[in-house]
Assembly symmetry: C2
Homo-oligomer: 587 residues x 2
């Protein structure tokens, strides 16, 4: 049908508009019939406006208004009037005015929606995903998408000001050696050959540095076909950055100022820079995590030197075997009952610990199962080392380095939750640096890169590549916010020989390297500059800026944790004809 155009949105009219003839369009949010008069809250993205259908003003229009149901799409013309005194709605930007309706057009009808379009809905997420077009009508979701839009724009303007160039890298690219997680795309024209979707534009951004682009960024979709965990998506968005002739500080400074700007412009929060820095070793030994939540203390303490010669053999044997005895102090928890302590022990065992040693700190003494083996003097030193005060509870783990700290890190988070130590209003950023280059994969019986195969070793550790590669540290850095890893980057290898050596250490032989990365090794022949960069998890940062708990709430059309789209029911079966054209067959 032909219809008039709106003169205003539903969030726009104010007292200053009183007397104007206006036309609004939108969705029927609510309808009330009061004393023969119909009241409609008309809703669009911009707000809500109350429309009054008075039979004394126009009987026909009033009668038509009686047919309106929630979510009908309508067009209303009428006059702006001041609301009667006492009926103003201070919670609504348009709450001081009404539209007295003279005309009404129903543009589209609506079935009763499966859930109401309200800020809080009590409905399974599956229903929200299936009826995403209704879920996205809810204002919290619209606010999230608007915040996301702002985040795109602020990010882009920021990088533009610093002389970065946004370059689109290919989505149809080459499958990489970590190919197990690549989404593949069969080629119709080239039988038996495949493109892969990028897990990241890593190789391309490095190529752009070789090309002399100097400062590159991109907000870019990436893909990972992995078994999904709660808060992962098969397609996700990254802020991807690369810079030439830089070291760690240069990249980190660019990142810190971006974070400060995003938090300032979106949340009005001042974030002090520079951010604190911890080495991987410090982070593990202090917080039991390489992505520590530093909004609260509850730090870990190593007491190896105190108990290595003690009579408590559980401890001294661990130290002898190169392990770690470390723990944390749970403040004011000496009053934990035996039952609570057993429960904590079980929890720690469920994390893989052999056991948990607890010490109730009393006034001048402690209660602990191992007391008689430790001796009073050792106990006193422990109390002093751990800065435990009467009324506190000490929790100790005795395991290998990695196991002890990993378990304590989880226990630390658990205790913080139980003790309500986390200040949700804090924004605790921290850089984690000096990661190991490699770790040993027990299943594959080879070294794997802790970051990725293009990360440069620290120059002072170069000699360790030949002798003790597991001890070599990388020029890698992760940015952590409130316990979430939100960005990871590194200074890259730009020397062909060193790159080959690292490939070889990773079990990628020369032939494989040539096949998969030949173009990059070739590029390095023609004058590669020193360079480094970083990639941010856009969805996760957006989630944190929106104050949401799930990245699915800041993505317009997310997939479920089993990588399905419930709205359009994809992935789905396709025609046999299509598969035939692609030269593939389902097995």
């Amino acid at each position: 049908m032909h219809y008039k155009k709106r003169t205003h949105t539903c969030g726009e009219l104010r007292v200053s508009d009183i007397g104007k003839a206006v036309t609004l369009t939108g969705w029927v949010d609510t309808r009330r019939d009061l004393g023969g008069v119909v009241f409609i809250d008309l809703r669009d993205r911009y707000g809500k406006t109350q429309v009054v259908f008075n039979p004394q003003r126009n009987q026909k229009v009033h009668d038509l208004a009686g047919e309106l149901r929630s979510e009908y799409v309508i067009l209303v013309s009428g006059k702006v009037e001041r609301r009667p005194a006492g009926t103003e709605n201070p919670n609504l930007a348009t709450g001081e005015i009404d539209i007295m309706a003279d005309e009404l057009t129903i543009l589209n009808k609506a079935d009763t929606p499966p859930f109401p379009i309200e800020d809080e809905v009590n409905v399974y997420e599956e229903a929200r995903l299936q009826y995403r077009y209704l879920d996205l009508r809810r204002s919290p979701m619209q606010r999230n998408l608007i915040t996301r839009h702002k985040m795109y724009l602020i990010t882009r303007e920021y990088f533009d000001e610093l002389g970065f160039i946004e370059v689109e890298t290919p989505v149809l690219m080459k499958s990489t050696p970590e190919g197990a997680r690549d989404y593949l795309v069969p080629s119709r024209i080239h039988r038996g050959k495949f493109f892969a979707l990028p897990q990241s534009p890593q190789t391309y951004k490095q190529i752009l540095m070789v090309a002399g682009l100097d400062r590159y960024f991109q907000i870019v979709k990436c893909f990972r076909d992995e078994d999904l965990r709660a808060d992962r998506q098969p397609e996700f968005t990254q802020i991807d950055v690369e810079m030439s002739f830089v070291d760690e500080d240069d990249v980190q400074k660019v990142v810190e100022e971006l974070m400060a700007r995003l938090f300032k412009e979106i949340k009005g929060i001042d974030i002090p820079t520079p951010f604190p820095r911890l080495t991987y070793k410090e982070a593990m030994e202090t917080y039991g995590s390489d992505k520590p939540d530093t909004r609260f203390e509850l730090k870990l303490t190593n007491i190896n030197h105190v108990i290595q010669d003690s009579g408590f053999r559980v401890f001294s044997e661990t130290v002898k075997k190169g392990g770690v005895v470390a723990g944390l102090v749970a403040p004011h928890c000496a009053s934990y009952t035996r039952n609570q302590l057993d429960n904590l022990t079980d929890y720690t065992k469920s994390l893989g610990a052999g056991g948990l040693v607890w010490m109730r700190v009393m006034d001048g003494s402690i209660e602990t199962p191992g007391e008689k083996f430790l001796g009073k003097e050792t106990v006193n030193i422990i109390l002093e080392e751990m800065q435990a005060k009467p009324g506190d509870l000490i929790l100790l783990i005795s395991e290998t380095w990695m196991k002890a700290y990993t378990i304590l890190g989880t226990l630390r988070l658990e205790m913080a939750k139980r003790l309500n130590l986390i200040d949700e209003s804090k924004q605790a950023f921290v850089w984690i640096t000096d990661f190991p280059m490699f770790e040993h994969d027990e299943t594959e019986k080879r070294y794997v890169a802790v970051h990725h195969p293009f990360t440069s070793p620290k120059l002072e550790d170069l000699h360790l590549l030949d002798s003790e590669p597991l001890k070599a540290r990388a020029r890698a850095y992760d940015l952590v916010l409130n316990g979430n890893e939100i960005a990871g980057g590194s200074i890259r290898i730009y020397d062909r020989g060193l790159q080959s050596k690292v490939f070889n250490l990773l079990g990628i032989d020369d032939e494989q390297a040539k096949k998969k990365f030949g173009f990059m090794l070739d590029a390095f022949r023609y004058g590669a500059p020193p360079h480094g960069g970083i990639a941010f998890g856009f969805d996760r940062i957006c989630m944190l800026l929106c104050g949401e708990k799930s990245i699915r709430d800041v993505i317009a059309f997310p997939k479920t944790t089993s990588a399905m789209s419930l709205m359009d029911d994809s992935p789905s079966e396709v025609d046999a004809k299509q598969l035939k054209e692609l030269h593939i067959k389902i097995v």
Copy 2:
């Protein structure tokens, strides 16, 4: 190695910097040895700076400079000095100064590149694509990428100012009925099922309108697995736009102002708005094309009414059969030799015409093979109708409507080129409107949508859907610039019933429609607003803004016309293990 940081880029130093100690990094562009002194042009993205290695200043550094070759990556420290009088280079922003080198570090060596890094290179495009990292070092290519970056930013800021929200739509989506051109992505988790890469985010942007987003845009990658033509890419970039509660004018106005802003900010050209509008019928009958190049006239004239009763049966029979006799006037071409005319006739036949009737216009008479059949009076009316002047050459075609105008459209472009009628400095925008809804596909023996299945028919043509669908016109509009279609859009169907009817006309039965588009038809149940939009070919507009002839020159990593990436040799074979995990097999 550890190295100092640059203090300036290679495009930055001026006379005002004379006396400063500076450090620059970059690539060796050229090296000259003159009278024992080595001169280097050092290059980065920002420009070039001349560095002088004088043995009297520092013998060791001078000797090391002797080892430098083109494309070595170096770091130079030295003092900024004024160039000796007469040696300034006015073509270089830094042309008034030199760096007198005190230190030199070779950061990376380089093999001799396969082609020189110069503005103009005489080399096959294949080599440029294979060594893209070298090709992108050339300043015209860097300028193109920078223009592209600006175009992203201007576009995004423009839409933001107008209240549009950028929303990312999924890349892993559902395969559509035009699935033959979909790139498919097998699912590892859901055996036998596939995602498709979007040919456009059409359904999602319409869903966003149903969700009440009101104004959406996105700069987005799209994919089409078609047999490639010269200037198409399997992955290409679109500016995608959708608006609610609008008609054609609203969308067109938004587009016109965007184009005006892009041309103003990037090229400094004022583009007058609004753009002219032609219906499809007018465009075909005036220019012989639905994407007419309106930088020049050379319009077509239909002379059916003049010759329908003439004795020249070739013409009168055509008119009787419902065909068209039409032609154009080639100015000052009456002097064409018989040989030239035969050549033109052959060209026209190669386009599918049965023949070409020419008329040399002399002073007071004409020369034409058909003269005796037409008679002097008819000839005079033809001259008058076509506004031909003595010295001109009339070229006439007699065919069915579509064939006559299509052939004349091609002939018109050909004559414009031969006669050099195209003013390359002009920017001729034109909207083409009122396209037919459907055309009949002779191979598939069914109607196909001229735009797409979601395009609304014109309201006054709704009744034709039942009786004469081929006559129904669509609310579709294309934007054409200098003969290039750069955008296409429409007002959409937002009524479930009408959408079903159009699907049915297109041979998509209810079951198929439910399977492929069920979610959209469902969405239409819950209050869909009237809406419309448009999509722009970003690559093509960028190409025109950069003054390039190929979209490959404005894409960082394009594929060849056979959909291959020469740099990384993709698509490529993948491990049998990967295919097994995806439950597929090559046949």
